[in-house]
Amino acid sequence: MNINLTLIGQMIAFVCFVLFCMKYVWPPIVAAMAEREKKIADGLAAADRASHDLELAKEKAVERLKEAKEEASGIVESANKRANQIVEEAKGAALVEAERVKASAQAEIEQETNRAREQLRSQVAALSLAGAEKVLGAAIDREAHADLVDKLASEL
C-alpha cells in the first residue's frame, strides 16, 4: 500500500492511452457511426418517399382501371347494339327474301294453275266435241261449229 513510482508510471500510461484513443480510435469510429446514421436517415426518407409514390401510383392505377372499365362497357354496349342491328337487318332481309320466294312461288302456282286450266279447258272442249259428235253422230261439221265449241270451252 505504498505510494511510489507506480503512480508516475500509471500517469504516463494514462496519457499515452488517452492520446492514442483520441487520435486513432475515437474519430474514425464516431465518423463511421455518424455516416451510418445519415445513411439510415436517408434510407428512411427514401422509403417514405417511395411509399408516398406508391400511394400515388395506386390512385392512378385505380383511376386507369375505372377508365378502362368504362371504356370496356362502352365497347360492349356498342357491340351489342351493332349485333342487334345486324340481327334486325338479317331479319328484314330474310322477310324480304321470304316474301320474294313466296311471291315467286305464288306466281308459279298461278301460272301452273292457269296452264292446267287451259289444258283442262282444251281437253274439255275436245271431250265435249267428241261427246257431241258421238251424240249427233258425226253430223256436226267441225268447222261450222267451232264457234259454238270455243264458246262452250271458254265457259268451262
Binding site: N4, T6, M11, A13, V18, V25, P28, V30, K39
Partner: protein, 292 residues
Amino acid sequence: MAGENQTVSEYIVHHLTNLTFGKLPAGFERYDGSIVADGGAWVMAHGGDEASAMGFSAIHVDSMIWSIGLGILFCWLFRKVARNAESGVPSGIVNALEMIIEFVDNTVRDTFHGRNPLIAPLALTVFVWVFLMNLMDLIPVDLIPSLLTLFGVEYQKIVPSTDPNITMGMAVGVFILMLYYSVKVKGFGFVKELTLNPFNHWLFIPINLFMEVVGLLAKPFSLGLRLFGNMYAGEMIFILIAALFSAGVAWMVPAGLLQIGWAIFHILVITLQAFIFMVLTIVYLSMAHEDH
C-alpha cells in the same frame, strides 16, 4: 489457498503484497540477513517490509504490467474496429464496441456542454480501461499468482485497480487536466473563484482559499480513492472467501456458494465503479470549463 505452512493472515498478507522492484536504502538488513551496501541496491522486494523500506523509489511491477497490458488490449481492440469502421451494417464485436462508444458519447453529451475533442476519448479510455482492470477481479484470486509461483514469481496482484498508485495515478492525471482547463478557460477567473468564493470580500480571502483548495483537492482524492476502496474491499472479500476453502472440507460448499454469489454481485460493482469513474471525470472537467 493457504499452504500447509502458511497461516490465514500470512495468506492474506501475501495476496495483498505487490511484486515490487525498487531501491533499498544503504544499510538495510535484507530477509536473508545480508546488509545492503552503500549507495543502495535496486532489487525485487522480498516481503512487505522491504517494499516499505524502498519508499517512493519503487515500482509495482505486477500493477504496471497488468495495467499497461489491459490498456494495450483496449487500444488494440478498439483500433481494430476503428480501422475497419464503415457505415455498412455492423456485426459482432463492432456492434458491441459501438454500443459502448455510443453510451459514452451520450453520457458526455448529457454532462459536458462545452466543446472539447479530448473529453469523449478520455471518457472512453477511462471507462473501458478501468472496467478491464476491475474485471481482473473476477479471475479466481489464486489462479494466476499460483501459476506464477511455479515460475519463481513470489508476489502477484493481478487487479491493478486495487493498487492506490494506479487509481491515484489516473485521478492525478484528471486533476492536472482540470487545473489546465480551469486556467485555460477561466484565466484569472480561476484565481477569483478560489479566493472570492463563497464569501465575496477581500477579508475572507484566506478562509475562501482554504475552503476552495480543500474542495479542489477533494476531487482527485474522491475519484481515485473511491475506485481503490471499492475494488480493494471486493478483492479482500474474494481473498477471505478463498481462505475459507482451507478451513476444512465442510466449508467447501458454503465457500463455493459465497464465491459465486460475490462474483455475480461483483459484476455489477466493477461496471458501476468504471461508470462512476468516467462520469466523475466528465463532471470535474465540465466544472473546470464552466465560468461562474
